[in-house]
């Protein structure tokens, strides 16, 4: 089981419940650039520590938000490509359905793969609905634009015999001929993200790696869709290394301390929805039928859509943003406690989903400070990781 550390690089000093939105519309006067500069250094130090601890690194990006200062995933990855030695560097990912220049993305991928001596892994994501505004991307047809951008990037990465032409529905280029080319041949591994069960089959068809975030027991449904399609393609059993799961991780010598840390990290979940409602639903982001259903449900008191909930061990659903740490642990959304406890929780999750080859850990989030982050990561690497390497992965998937 490969381990990857992830942080949103939050600007938590601006997390004021009085703000209607932390995303999109919060003026950046609430960001002190001196404080931001310090936080960037600190978060980078923590990623560098991961390299020393044998933990790989995952970076994502969001825009115009106090929840995440990584406005470009490739900026920290470019830095990390030179100040780390062994860690794989995962970009999960680029919102290529929103970006205007896919060829530029391909160029940057090739550059970072060379800078890192072939340690780069690329990831392509649709992006949350609220990302439509910062990108000013037409929401209608966004998934088609994503698909075209993906095909163009892959062709740019794998074409070596001169310029090619591209005249698609969304993108037009007369001479695509990127320099450099990626070090990993034919291209770095490609990841995608699935939160609902929709894209799993398509991801399998691309032989892409499927990552899913904080989905708990629902992640098994997504993995099953993927594994089923992989078998249908005639490729046998999908290797567990094709699957990844992101969870909150907090380790400490004492359970209470670990839970305290987890509560701070889970600020990410609690603030994620601090956003004016209409930014959650740009026109055309989901089909009209789904929007009509959402309108119908929106007037019902206390209605919570399924995607905002996690499944407990008794089958009930709990609102993710209001869940206690104990509930998040029960739901496999957070692995929290002493090293022994965390190992047992991850082992149980791995068994439940039938083998997951990549664990993306959110060991820093919210306002968890540097010392606690370092302690948690160090304990995890020393006390938990060695035991995880012995977990059955592919054997379980075959049984699943």
């Amino acid at each position: 089981m490969k381990i990857w550390q992830f942080t949103e690089q939050a600007y938590f000093p601006a997390w004021d419940p009085a703000h209607e939105s932390l995303r999109n519309s919060l003026p950046n006067k609430f960001l002190d650039p001196q404080v931001a500069a310090g936080l960037y250094s600190r978060y980078t130090d923590e990623w560098q520590l991961c390299d020393e601890l044998g933990i790989n690194i995952m970076v994502n990006e969001h825009h115009q938000t106090a929840t995440c200062m990584t406005a470009s995933a490739h900026v920290p990855l470019a830095i990390l490509s030179r100040i780390t030695k062994k860690a794989r560097l995962l970009c999960l990912g680029h919102q290529i359905g929103n970006r205007q220049d896919p060829v530029r993305v391909a160029e940057e991928i090739a550059m970072i793969d060379c800078y890192s001596q072939g340690r780069y892994e690329m990831g392509f994501v649709r992006g949350g609905p609220f990302e439509i505004w910062p990108a000013n991307a037409q929401p209608v047809g966004q998934t088609r634009r994503f698909g075209e951008a993906y095909r163009l990037i892959m062709k740019a990465l794998t074409t070596h015999d001169g310029p090619f032409n591209w005249e698609g529905e969304f993108f037009h280029y007369r001479m695509v001929n990127i320099w450099p080319r990626p070090l990993q041949q034919p291209h770095p591994p490609a990841w995608f993200v699935s939160i609902g069960s929709g894209p799993g089959a398509w991801i399998a068809e691309q032989r892409g790696k499927l990552g899913t975030f904080l989905t708990g027991r629902d992640s098994k449904i997504l993995f099953d869709v993927y594994r089923k399609r992989w078998r249908e393609m005639g490729w046998g059993q999908a290797p567990a290394d094709q699957l990844g799961y992101l969870a909150i991780v907090a380790v400490a010598d004492r359970e209470e301390e670990a839970k305290r840390r987890a509560h701070q990290i889970a600020g990410y979940i609690r603030t994620g929805a601090q956003l004016s409602m209409h930014f959650f639903n740009p026109p055309g982001y989901v089909p009209p039928q789904a929007n009509a259903q959402a309108m119908r449900m929106s007037t019902r008191k206390d209605y919570v859509p399924a995607y905002a909930t996690v499944v407990m061990s008794d089958g009930s659903r709990v609102h993710q943003g209001r869940a206690t740490i104990d509930q998040l642990i029960d739901a496999h959304v957070a692995f929290v406690g002493t090293p022994d406890q965390v190992y047992e929780q991850i082992k149980a999750y791995n068994e439940f989903v039938g083998g997951c080859g990549n664990l993306l850990i959110m060991a820093q989030g919210g306002d968890l400070n540097h010392a606690d982050t370092v302690d948690s990561l160090t304990l995890f690497s020393r006390e938990v990781m060695p035991r995880l390497q012995a977990l059955p992965l592919d054997a379980m998937a075959t049984a699943a």
């Binding site: 055309g284 929007n291 009509a292 309108m295």
Partner: protein
Amino acid sequence: MDTMAPSLTRLHEHTLELIDAGSGRPIVFLHGGDGIDPRWPVLTHLAGLGRLVAPSHPGFGHSALPAHFRSVDDLAYAYLDLFEQMNLRDAVLVGVSLGGWIAAEIAVRSTARIGHLVLADAVGIRCATDETAADIADVFSLAPVDVEARAYAEPARWRRSYDDCSDDELLVMARNREALSLYGWSPYLHNPILRHWLHRIDRPTLVLWGAADRITTPDYGRAWAEGIAGAQFTLIDNAAHHPHIEQAERFAKEIARFAGLAGSATA
């Protein structure tokens, strides 16, 4: 309240939802971004003045969205085809909001089948020279309650709860919102060069405007009128962005006066 029954017709290989009521001189009514409601009194008023032809734009209401449609250009050409298919002549072309933009795009292409043009609270042109100034309030970025406050002189009177809507009405609302984004997300509800082609409009034009409109202000309406030779500009009191809803009878009367329509007594 009368209800105009829409029917489905074919335009090329696609389905178009259309209200076709009354008789006499054609009055083509092009709706705004919220679509068309067959129960609107304005439709009855207009059908009393002539032959009312009121389509749901492709992608709106129950009209199909052809896969290749992506701009107001496509709507303009589709309606030029509809004029031919129905053999409409000397039509009074009325467009509200988005429909006004479509009507202007039709008219700069050809006025051959148009007798009079009416643009009501139309979006579609760029007036401000300051790049940071928005001519049109951003209905995609404002909270719905703020959009409503800008769009109606009396928002509470016209507000409908989703609970009072059928499943089909909710689906139509969702389709309308998606189609409005398709045609108007960016550049936002306008064609940056349309103003430079307005000189091609060679038919009498009336620019009607809700005095309380804060989606597109009356000053924006005056810019439309200044751009079209000989255009009249008329304000409608106690109405904002939807004068055809808030002041339906007055709206129809202004059109009748302007285009010389006698019609029956309803207007």
